[in-house]
């Protein structure tokens, strides 16, 4: 066995562990999944053009090992907290079904998603989701399992799953609002520097362009 291969495996281990932790939300399970992944890789060493190709291959193996862990621990993996039982938050809506607070304008997604720090905040927000919500959300988003597959693997009902996914998305939204968008409000068309520098610019057209971007 080439020393190189072992060293590459070792160098990728922290990243594999982070994926596994975000998905499993349990350090012992995550470590098991990663060691099984590394063992599987050692059993059939292959050569890759670069680290990133090796990593893609390893992540593929890791996903299977992570599903094995979820299957093995499904009862503990689906323990619910109070937060998991509410569907839509009463804090969000008044009894008449209206929003209590105006949702913020998050601006142009292209501008937001270009910023690396945004993803640091996002990682933190994923890490603080209630564990069961995080697990099902990541099963859909990272493992890319269908709703039916998630229900089958974890032995939960569709209704349970939907409530958990709704909660996860609302929690993530809340966390991104507090952790990113409160500090980085969408630039107001009338107040951006480029607008004040060119006061004669056709304001209506710009506003229309902005609306088109938003939709």
């Amino acid at each position: 066995m080439s020393n190189d291969f072992s060293r590459q495996l070792e160098s990728l281990q922290p990243q594999l562990l982070r994926f596994a932790r975000t998905q499993l939300r349990n350090d012992a399970w995550a470590e098991d999944a990663v060691s099984e992944t590394v063992l599987a890789a050692l059993e059939k060493p292959q050569s890759f053009a670069g680290l990133s190709q090796l990593k893609t291959w390893l992540v593929g193996i890791l996903k299977h090992k992570v599903i094995d862990q979820l299957r093995r621990h499904k009862r503990e993996a689906t323990v619910l907290t109070n937060d998991d039982n509410e569907d839509l938050d009463d804090l969000l809506f008044a009894p008449d079904g209206h929003w209590r607070e105006m949702p913020a304008d998050w601006g142009n997604p292209d501008d937001v998603l270009r910023q690396r720090q945004f993803f640091d905040v996002m990682q933190t927000c994923l890490d603080v989701l209630p564990p069961t919500q995080a697990r099902v959300f990541m099963m859909r988003e990272w493992l890319e399992l269908s709703s039916d597959e998630v229900c089958k693997e974890l032995a939960i009902t569709t209704t349970n799953l939907w409530v958990l996914l709704h909660r996860a998305r609302l929690r993530l939204r809340e966390c991104l609002q507090a952790g990113w968008f409160d500090a980085h409000p969408a630039p107001h068309p009338g107040r951006s520097p480029s607008m004040s520098a060119r006061p004669a610019a056709p304001k209506g057209a710009r506003a229309a362009a902005r609306r088109a971007e938003d939709s």
């Binding site: 990243q15 982070r18 994926f19 975000t22 990133s52 990593k55 893609t56 992540v59 569907d87 839509l88 969000l92 809506f93 008449d96 079904g97 209206h98 929003w99 105006m102 949702p103 913020a104 304008d105 998050w106 997604p109 937001v112 998603l113 270009r114 690396r116 945004f118 993803f119 996002m122 990682q123 994923l126 988003e141 990272w142 709703s147 799953l161 939907w162 996914l165 709704h166 998305r169 609302l170 993530l172 939204r173 991104l176 938003d214």
Partner: protein
């Protein structure tokens, strides 16, 4: 309440549910109708879309963070 009139809470639920299942035709019309007149739900829907794109990109971020950049040229 008519078939096509839903309040913000119900529309929010439908917008979340369409991540899990295809909406019925009546539901789709109700959502579009509501979004055409409601800035609040339109903003919420935009937030969800941003989160979906962010999750797709998060995988890249997590894969490439060692190199200090994501390949977001695509």
């Amino acid at each position: 309440m008519s078939l096509f009139h839903r309040n913000c809470r119900e529309v929010t639920r439908l917008v979340l549910e369409r991540e899990n299942r295809p909406l019925t035709l009546v539901e789709r019309i109700a959502v579009r109708f509501h979004l055409s007149i409601c800035l609040m739900c339109t903003r919420f829907t935009g937030q969800l879309q941003l989160m979906n794109r962010a999750m797709a990109q998060w995988k890249q971020y997590a894969e490439h963070d060692e190199h200090g950049e994501r390949d977001d040229a695509a």
